[in-house]
Symmetry: C2
């Protein structure tokens, strides 16, 4: 029989699910498009179906699950399992945890998606062995998670870890959150896209111009990498600037929190990490006090797309002992 | 006899000591000038003497102390009780904890001075009742402390809480730490002094010009308050700008940590809080997400000069159970 865990990662674009055995190995998988524009019940059914498919793929049944965990965009309430709100998905005070628990017949735990990714890296990835881990995931936006003294930190708001919305350049570029100069407005893929489009408008030569649709909202990481590899000056400069700002943000957070490991992941780092990590690390060490950086590890995430499902599942196992 | 605690607050200018009874009431006090330019042994003797005087003032003897705590500038190692380094005081790998323990015949605990202040406010001041408290103390510099899940957070660096050295305006004014745009470089008394001096140099009218010595390093908070009260435009503008930047920093940290209470203290807030708190609060609530601020308290410290001795003493009591 064994005791299996189901981990689900709910994103604005896709839902991933994986079943983990007692040794925390993935023994079944499934994936589907979120189609986030649909109403809450439709999205819920997609989540449930993807979970069921992962269970079937593992060759087990739901009754063999001891718990499930789901990483979701928030804000959310990890205690009640309700999604309070979500920018991309039409959940509004939606009882995602209770509904999944009922559907799968096991305890269900809900956690912020990026916190789940951070927890996955902490337990089974690049943050292994460290007790204090700062996780930063850079993609369309920038999210983060905090492992403090060996536990995921929720804070009083229950949604701590909004690394993307610390202001590092007051009066700087507009952020989607309404502020100016947030880390996300300076170093996310959205921010890079804005800068590249501006360069194109002002007549700078870049191969990006013929690689992407003019109206494309956000340039894919893979395209950025291709242009960088081809030696495109505009893209190289924009990527280095983004890495610089990530370093400014990480350095500030290292001063504040004094972590043992900083784990950087997400689509941008997956594609461009080889070009960004050196700058991120050197700026971080320049910004932060020597006593906070001398034993600090600054590393790339190891689990890729699996960090979310892994973190959600392992956190569910951990949470069982507190039920 | 009762079990008494000795709390000491070591600053660059003065050493304060207070004896606390079982009910955490102050029953004895002493104070001396640090005269920080002297060598480590001389400063140590001043600390020990001030502690002895507080004990005598309480009408007890050292043997009645169950523990002592001292807040000191760092970085330091709370586990070993060593002061690793100190900008203002000539301690370099100085065994302050062990030496005080030997001298007073009781366990001695060493903690960062601002962390001690934050802990004091958390246990006995404006942060009472909250489990997640961000403490920010604004004076010549800006320091902070983090109470997370009911405990003082040290981090892996053992010196977490460097709130003054998060960068909130990349490329901004030079900070004493070598970076540009740190919160301390924008909102401390040192930063305000720099701006006022620049205003004077560029011909702006301000009564500060005749209130302070031209060569004065840092304008005292009391002088800033007097000028503000007199309606001095330059000082009013500089104070409001500082409050704005404190709000930017606090808002960022609230997004990151989701605390329950933010406690603001230190000489600048003691003198100018009535003119700064409204701006700090409104900017914080503008910057941070609504889900992190709706139940957040933003309050002034209540213990004034006693926050450090109180925090050091109460943390010593707390630490005893882990010895």
């Amino acid at each position: 029989m064994g005791s299996y865990l189901l981990g689900i990662d709910l994103g604005g674009t896709k839902v991933s699910a994986a079943v983990f055995d007692e040794g925390n190995r993935i023994v079944g998988r499934a994936r589907a498009k979120t189609r986030a524009q649909r109403d809450d019940e439709d999205v819920f059914e997609t989540i449930a179906k993807t979970g069921r498919e992962a269970v079937a793929d593992a060759g087990i049944e739901s009754k063999h699950l001891i718990a499930l965990g789901i990483g979701s965009p928030g804000p959310l309430d990890p205690d009640s399992g309700y999604i309070v709100d979500s920018v991309n998905i039409k959940f509004k005070n939606f009882p995602l945890g209770p509904r999944l628990s009922e559907r799968f017949g096991c305890p269900a735990f809900v956690i912020n998606d990026v916190s789940a990714g951070t927890y996955g890296e902490f337990k089974a990835g690049a943050g292994r062995g460290a007790s204090h881990v700062l996780g930063i995931f850079i993609g369309t936006g920038i999210g983060g998670g905090l492992i403090l003294d060996g536990s995921l930190y929720h804070g009083f708001s229950k949604n701590a870890g909004e690394v993307g919305h610390i202001i590092i350049k007051a009066g700087g570029p507009q952020c989607g959150c309404g502020n100016r100069g947030c880390l996300e407005a300076l170093a996310s893929r959205t921010a890079m896209t804005r800068k590249i489009k501006k360069a194109i408008r002002t007549g700078h030569k870049t191969i990006i111009k013929r690689m992407v649709d003019k109206k494309a909202d956000v340039i894919p990481s893979s395209v950025l990498k291709e242009a960088y590899d081809a030696g495109d000056r505009v893209v190289m400069k924009v990527v280095h600037q983004a890495a610089h700002y990530v370093g400014v943000g990480v350095g500030s957070l290292v001063n504040l929190l004094g972590p043992e490991a900083v784990v950087l992941g997400g689509g941008v780092i997956d594609a461009l990490g080889e070009y960004m990590m050196e700058t991120i690390e050197s700026v971080t060490r320049e910004v932060a006090f020597e006593f906070t950086t001398k034993d600090l590890r600054i590393v790339r995430a190891e689990l890729g797309d699996d960090s979310g499902v892994t973190g959600a599942a392992l956190l569910a196992r951990e949470s069982l002992s507190y039920v």
